[in-house]
Symmetry: C2
Subunit: 194 residues, 2 copies
């Protein structure tokens, strides 16, 4: 009952996601959001709470819709395929024509004012979650003999995540997909072979 809302909340969240992706958390104003969504401020606050809650919803949607490859890649049978699929997946998401450049998490993670420290902490934590999951996967690979006995799973995970974050910077600076693909190929030469 009550007056039905005149916009699709899911579409609006997608718009918010793309704006945050392109312009970062603090770089995106409420006016940017309402203009993009085609709704008014009370509608935004009534539907999504406030800017921070809206960002967190957008972040969750981003992880579900654009970072799903990460958790799929972890299930690949060997560590090299895990690593390659993750890097390729990041590059695909970061250089998709219809998407903003780079990575929402990396874009939003960088410098921020004192007012956004909570968002910054969340972002750093999300990166750590992925990195630790990858390290556990590589540790399993090491125990399975899939990685050399003298390899360091945490260092390898950090290496893969670092390359992924570097590609995000490249992509948001305008690098093309093929160029970044070749970069992934170079990086994979560092990865130990089973």
């Amino acid at each position: 009952m009550g007056r039905p809302r005149e916009f699709d909340a899911d579409d609006a969240l997608q718009t918010a996601l793309e704006l945050f992706w392109r312009k970062g958390y603090e770089g995106t104003s409420i006016t940017d959001l309402t203009d993009g969504m085609g709704i008014t401020k009370p509608s935004l606050y009534g539907t999504f709470g406030n800017k921070e809650e809206l960002f967190r919803m957008a972040l969750q949607r981003y992880e579900e819709n654009y970072m799903a490859f990460f958790w799929s890649a972890l299930e690949q049978p060997d560590a090299r395929t895990v690593a390659f699929d993750i890097l390729r997946g990041f590059v695909n998401a970061q250089t998709e024509e219809c998407n903003p450049g780079g990575c929402l998490v990396v874009n939003a993670a960088r410098a921020c004012s004192d007012a956004a420290l909570e968002i910054h902490k969340t972002i750093v934590e999300r990166i750590q979650v992925g990195q630790k999951a990858l390290a556990r996967r590589f540790d399993r690979a090491k125990r399975e003999g899939d990685l050399p006995a003298d390899s360091n799973p945490e260092d390898l995970a950090r290496f893969i995540m670092t390359v992924a974050q570097g590609t995000a910077v490249q992509a948001s600076s305008g690098a093309g997909r093929d160029e970044v693909y070749r970069l992934v190929d170079i990086a994979m030469k560092s990865f130990p072979r089973s």
Copy 2:
């Protein structure tokens, strides 16, 4: 003639540099700057013009005082040493205890509002300048037989810069120097040997 200024402009610029480094261009307010410098707004504007000019001065100082290693590294005799010195130099700057984490250029480069597009363009351009200089150096190495004939200098330069940018994200997320050193060692395994 005239009343002498009561603060050291060089010290003030250093403070601005560190604030911009830590919080980014838009994340640093004029009040942050004047409070940190211990001066008033008219003094800031009288000495440095405006926020954008102050940032550009800080950026220039950053490149001179913290990125000098880059141009020195380009003069190393062989390509592997060039690459290694550049990566080590970046890590050193990004993980210096007394410095803010990460890289001022990378931190400031990420997401930004429409109002800061000019700054964003400058930042992307500074990255490109370094990357192209490195590609030229690797091209010379290739001609000198210091890199394999089938290697691609531009791809190698992009790889090194990408790892450097990735380390900046790691460092501004709190990674320690030794961890990032090991990451550089892994990355260097990808680099062709003469």
